[in-house]
């Protein structure tokens, strides 16, 4: 039975505070729901708050990484916030360093990181178009 996880839309971003223990199937369902919301709102940022999650196993870790890559394909940057220290230690034991995942201490920091990420992307794009103009 899938316990509904709230998915909030705040401005251009989507915030997912995970408050329940996720099983393998519910994690997959959540992933799908998140991606659908991104599609519907055209969001540019995704914040997953895991501060209430006590256990992240290799599967859930994998799902988080995958979700981030999928969101990225849809044009949204992902930040995972509020990981507990016990969770961090288990993830390291499992050998998941999550190099490609952006992380922040709390939601607030997550938002500022997201702002930096999205603004740097648009900055790059402007820079590229500017260069093109200069060469032509």
């Amino acid at each position: 039975m899938y316990e509904e996880v709230t998915i909030l839309k705040i401005g251009d971003s989507i915030v997912v505070p995970i408050q329940v223990e996720l099983h393998d199937s519910s994690a997959k369902t959540l992933q799908e729901n998140i991606l659908q919301k991104i599609e519907r709102f055209g969001s540019q940022g995704l914040i997953i708050d895991v501060s209430a999650v006590l256990i992240i196993d290799s599967f859930l870790g994998r799902v988080l990484i995958d979700t981030a890559s999928m969101a990225k394909l849809m044009g949204a940057e992902t930040v995972v916030v509020g990981m507990r220290k016990e969770v961090v230690l288990t993830l390291l034991h499992l050998g998941l360093t999550m190099k490609n995942l952006h992380t922040a201490l709390n939601i607030e920091d997550g938002f500022s990181l997201l702002n930096r990420l999205t603004s740097s992307i648009s900055g790059n794009l402007l820079g590229v178009s500017h260069d093109k103009k200069a060469t032509t």
């Binding site: 961090v88 360093t97 190099k99 201490l105 709390n106």
Partner: protein
């Protein structure tokens, strides 16, 4: 069987004075450091007690499973507890009982008749047993000492310093092995959680040699900080260390590294958007 034991006990008891004398002579010759450490009078009284309890235990009629020398063991343990193992070698402590063995054997051979040869076999196994007992106590004593020191060392070895608002610093000193890394990570993560610090500086100025193992531990710690959502800066990367790291093919490119703590601190201030003064 018990008849022989009684006979041996009888012979030993009759020649107790001579036996004690020969034992103590041998102790002085073979375990000089031990005698000077514990003191001659103390060794004299202990050797007397051990011999008495030994003879006494021979006279007891016991089944095979029962421990014949429980009383002797207690005495030996008490005796060993007095020894400071920084000064005395294991071998000398073991010699304490082995010299008694040779004294007793000599005496029995001198008094020998037909059945005594069998009792010498018994004697050998008894003394082997007691020797192993002494060995195990010695090793246990030393190991507990080592464990204690390790724990004490652990406690002082991983301080987490709160350098500035949102900036933590962990000075790493000495060798970085897995258990210390684990301890350091736990302390660091706990502090990051408590202070909600955005930057953790790992200062490796105090680490003499960085090999692949140390590098791997560093990467683990830095990844841990990053998973929490904090930035990790590794400082104190001297010329020698950077050379070895590159030669070993260790990839630290994902982390901010600086040669001095001062530089690292400046970077940390920049990251957190702070200024001093």
């Amino acid at each position: 069987m018990s008849n022989i034991n009684l006979k041996v006990a009888d012979i030993l008891d009759k020649n107790r004075e001579a036996l004690l004398d020969s034992w103590q002579q041998q102790l002085i010759v073979n375990t000089r450091v031990l005698v000077s450490e514990v003191g001659f009078n103390s060794i004299k009284s202990y050797s007397e007690q051990v011999l008495l309890s030994f003879i006494d235990s021979l006279t007891q009629d016991l089944s095979a499973e029962e421990d014949r020398f429980s009383q002797t063991r207690v005495l030996l343990k008490e005796f060993i507890a007095k020894i400071d193992f920084n000064n005395v070698d294991f071998v000398e402590v073991v010699n304490f009982i082995l010299t008694l063995k040779s004294s007793v054997t000599n005496l029995l051979i001198k008094e020998s008749d037909a059945c005594i040869s069998e009792s010498i076999l018994n004697l050998t196994s008894w003394f082997d047993d007691l020797t192993f007992y002494i060995f195990s106590i010695c090793i246990e004593t030393r190991e507990s000492l080592i464990r204690e020191q390790q724990r004490a060392f652990m406690d002082v070895s991983v301080p987490v310093v709160r350098l500035w608002n949102q900036i933590l610093m962990i000075p790493l000193v000495g060798m970085l092995d897995s258990s210390r890394t684990q301890q350091m990570m736990e302390t660091m993560l706990g502090a990051l959680e408590d202070y909600q610090s955005r930057v953790a500086i790992l200062d490796i100025s105090g680490i003499p040699v960085v090999d692949t193992l140390v590098a791997r531990h560093l990467i683990t710690a830095a990844s841990a900080a990053r998973l929490m959502g904090a930035e990790c800066i590794i400082t104190g990367v001297r010329a020698r260390i950077s050379q070895t790291l590159v030669q070993l093919g260790v990839d630290l490119s994902g982390f901010i590294t600086r040669s001095t703590l001062a530089d690292g601190f400046a970077t940390a201030l920049k990251i957190t958007g702070q200024q001093i003064g």
